[in-house]
Subunit: 346 residues, 2 copies
């Protein structure tokens, strides 16, 4: 009998793996409106739609406790989940928190973690309604599930973009990635040469990495302007990856302009220190937790020169064209490199 | 400045830890009807109540892949979550599955895991609607969240027991614990002496450990009988621990009779092989995933001699009396030892 070759997980990548593993699952429940494939699932349980999303954070993969204070970790773990709900144009309402920890953690350490969780819950008026706490042979793993609510006709899916839609992104990009590079640099210096971390003057980048704030304020601003996005997604893996998600799920292409991508002056400066291209940091850095969305062209006047967001391009009919127009006018194909692939290049 | 002593997690135990960490969280959402403290949270999102529960399974703590096939692990991971929803007298409807795995696992291994997950979903008509799949430095951690539905007035809480209520439990107890002892014994024999595992004839105990079946059928039987439990909980940590939960949350005591506790003949036999007391296996073994519930005394006739469940005692007014009446008539105080403490004693 021929022995079958086993496939290493690294051959698939996260999205391929999820697609493969969940292929062939059928839905049975009338309340399941939309399952896997967007920022959150959509359930019809009452008059409003219920959205549901979950994220796992693993020590040594998603965070390094050498430089992430536990309170910040707690806050960020909730924040990244809320970001998925806001990306549906919904309001987060409840979370559950599951935690597996080794006995190297003290009660006081977990208290700090939960202080951060509580801060995020209070700021966003979200209720902690359940969870599980258990031992682990090593390290810390956090798994958070979040529920939210919205009128069904206000939800924004990744698949809703229309040809010629304006592509917009809130805030600025690339800063969280550079914050991580800074923390990592100082950690190595301390480890190798005992030099105390010197991080003053870098506050903005560090805050973007350690304490991202999910963009509820953007949704409020869009409502104030009377604008409803056709499609929306949050920027967790990098602008490139998220643009490709919007294109794939909407069956369209896109054209974005390098000189329009919002990058903070501090990001520019520190990228140069690290000999990195700031645009690449924005495209592939990830962890910005900004909202990327598309608007009907008719909203152009309402959406102009808004301090909350920037127009960076537009959707196009041809699904095979997904391009970045560089400053010199050349067209570059957008590729999903995500955070890990990028790190290997850097 | 005095240095504060840190508290090791082992000083608290799981329930103490959860209480401590979640103390002081306030609820803000009108849809949050009941948060932490029962088998599931209860949300009012529509006409029906929505119940929500989550469980984490960690390799090396909750399962050992040396003797648990991945397909069984997937099935069991879903089953134990469904059991929490049935323990609310509700119907499970959707799950999310989050998975952190090291690169020692192949795609084919994860396919097997998901086959088991799918089998459980199909048998119980539950939809997989989301999740997260990520890398881990070592091992495998599974986190599953389940949603369910029930008319609000049909939910059964742990706190609903009344004085003189009959205490009933479905199926039989202690078998899953002995199944684990068998698997562990054969693993050690194989490891030390290279002896191939010999597990034939022990099918029932192994099935109870490896492939527990959450008791939806009991709920159907109770409905057929026109019986609604006043209180209900599933048996995951052992009969003792669950009885104490019912007592504490209902503000009552209980009296259960050793000679009424349902124990299968195979459990009796194998307990003796291991020089264990079968009653202690039932009280403290855990992982039975049977349902423990209380009924109004008026239902006595309807509940008599039913093949689905056994009357084992009754609730009493005095919250300080939680006793097991032994076969010889002596009264023993019930204590929560749970699975781990018991293992150390054995």
């Amino acid at each position: 009998m021929e022995k079958h070759k086993l496939t290493p997980l690294s051959e698939l990548g996260e999205f391929g793996l999820i697609e493969r593993l969940t292929h062939g699952f059928e839905n049975h429940q009338p309340s399941t409106f939309k399952g896997i494939g967007d920022d959150a699932a959509v359930l019809h349980l009452g008059q409003q739609a219920t959205v549901l999303s979950t994220d796992m954070l693993v020590e040594g993969i998603h965070f390094n406790l050498a430089y992430v204070p536990l309170k910040h970790l707690g806050y960020k773990a909730v924040a990244v989940n809320l970001s998925d709900i806001y990306a549906m144009n919904a309001t987060p309402t409840q979370i559950t928190v599951s935690l597996a920890v080794s006995n190297r953690f003290s009660l006081e350490a977990l208290d700090e973690l939960y202080q951060g969780i509580r801060m995020a819950c209070e700021r966003h008026k979200v209720d902690l309604v359940g969870g599980d706490t258990c031992a682990a042979p090593a390290g810390m793993t956090l798994s958070i599930t979040v529920l939210g609510q919205a009128p069904a006709d206000e939800l924004c899916y990744r698949s809703g973009a229309k040809p010629a839609d304006l592509i917009c992104v809130s805030g600025d990009l690339g800063a969280a990635y550079l914050g991580l590079q800074l923390l990592e640099r100082e950690r190595l210096l301390f480890q190798k040469e005992g030099i105390q971390p010197e991080l003053s003057g870098y506050d903005y980048l560090l805050e973007r990495q350690l304490k991202p704030e999910p963009r509820r304020d953007l949704l409020e601003e869009l409502r104030r302007l009377g604008i409803r996005p056709n499609a929306m997604i949050d920027v967790s893996d990098g602008l490139s990856s998220e643009l490709l998600h919007l294109c794939k799920q909407s069956g369209l292409g896109c054209k974005v302009f390098e000189d329009k991508i919002p990058i903070d002056a501090m990001t520019e400066k520190v990228a140069k220190e690290f000999h990195l291209d700031p645009t690449l940091c924005a495209l592939n850095g990830g962890e910005d937790y900004e909202l990327l969305f598309t608007l009907p062209l008719a909203d152009y006047d309402k959406a102009q020169a808004n301090p909350y967001f920037t127009l960076i391009g537009h959707m196009i009919e041809d699904p095979d064209l997904k391009v970045l127009v560089a400053r010199d006018g050349t067209h570059l194909p957008l590729r999903a490199q995500g955070w890990n692939a990028f790190e290997h290049k850097a």
